[in-house]
């Protein structure tokens, strides 16, 4: 059987949503849009196996059930719209502090923020730091839920530029966005989600 590259979702669903079948490519960005409450976040969370669901999801031919869930989530990392923090300083949240320090200026973040208490960060700084936190974990796929919702235009552009750079290194993205212009700028493929189906918009 040929090795199936990318992130392949087959008949994935919960009790109230789905089933969904779709495949996403590495080095590519899929943007997901749809009305609020339709289950876009749940869709990303199910791929990351953070919510109970049925169906199969594979990455480069390897089924997620073949590995412990934490290992799967290191490969396919979900970044929530609202970031959660568990330690005092920003640095304590980074798996690779040196990599975070190097990455932060690209997002307009002062690397000195690493030593600052999380509580002192603005909402926008927190959102970008959460993105840094996920990227330095070196995932293969990033599932981003409204990654720029709390950012001004300048910061948003920096984030989009960084995501573009990561894409060219082979990282795959599924991004939920309410911003149609952002969807156009970032998306290689576009999907619209309804209650129990996912439709690709072919331009």
């Amino acid at each position: 059987m040929p090795r199936q590259e990318g992130l392949i979702v087959q008949n994935m669903g919960s009790a109230v949503r789905g089933p969904f079948s779709v495949s996403f490519d590495l080095g590519s960005c899929a943007v997901l849009q749809g009305p609020s409450g339709v289950g876009k976040s749940l869709f990303l969370r199910m791929i990351a196996d953070l919510d109970p669901n049925t169906g199969t999801v594979t990455l480069d031919g390897t089924d997620r059930t073949a590995m412990p869930a934490p290992m799967w989530r290191r490969l396919v990392t979900y970044v929530a719209a609202e970031s959660g923090w568990w330690a005092e300083t920003v640095a304590e949240h980074m798996r690779d502090v040196a990599a975070a320090r190097a990455l932060m200026p690209d997002l307009g973040l002062d690397p000195d923020l690493l030593d600052a208490p999380v509580a002192r960060l603005s909402t926008g700084e927190r959102q970008r730091s959460a993105l840094v936190r996920a990227v330095v974990g070196r995932p293969r796929f990033l599932l981003l839920d409204e990654p720029t919702s709390a950012l001004d235009a300048a910061s948003r552009d920096r984030v989009e530029t960084m995501l573009g750079g990561l894409k060219s290194t082979g990282l795959g993205f599924v991004i939920v966005s309410h911003d149609s212009k952002q969807a156009e700028r970032l998306g290689d493929r576009h999907f619209v989600m309804a209650q129990d189906n996912l439709t690709e918009i072919l331009s």
Partner: protein, 263 residues
Amino acid sequence: MTPVALSPADLAVAAMLVVASAALSLVLSLGVHRPLLVSAGRLVIQLVLVGLVLRVIFASASMWVTFGVIAIMLAAASREMGARSPRRLKGLWHLGIGTLSILGATLPVALIVLLTALKPTPWYDARHAIPLVGIILGTVMNGGSLALNTILSSVARDRLAIEARLALGATRQEAFRPILRQAVRTGVTPTVNQMAAAGIITLPGIMTGQVLAGMDPLDAARYQILLLLVLSTAGFLGAVIASYAALHRLTDHRHRLRLDALV
């Protein structure tokens, strides 16, 4: 040792103090007169009944009666442990975790003390086994319910932090570590405080009772040391068992946070 018996008249003086406190609460409209009087009433009735029942049990010297009484005490404590939780776990889990912590922490500690330090004949002698299980049970219930309450009240509040860690590839044990530490710490605080303060800030209850009843202070101190050492172990065990059992229930084998386990 000849115990000094108290007469009902002696107790009446103490009871008047509680009534006076309730009256003061009423005058200052502090609103605690009812709970004060009700719980004082309960205390008197409960302890007098227990005294009478224990008298009968000690006289019977039956193994089955002793074990039966201990089983009832364990069951009541298991139910009581989760009775005042801020959130409850669905189904039988709430009671189940209470039972598991009570049994898992109380029985081993009580057996060790009976078989090594106290060594009564027979080893299940009611005069030793029942009060010992009772005092250990109280500590386990306190430690376990403080720990369980901490987990249950923090888990929903810290959902974002826990899920952020899980999403980044942490195991459920890693993601829950801050909450687990907090829970166990809260659970052992009363016994740690009790040990640290013993003799300096307060004279512990057992020792006070024995000294007042006429026992040599150093002998009384030995008993108190033995009890505080085993009580701290039991309280710690109760907190650990309750915390890890709650963690187990609030997550699943795919390391997901399962808040749907809460009512």
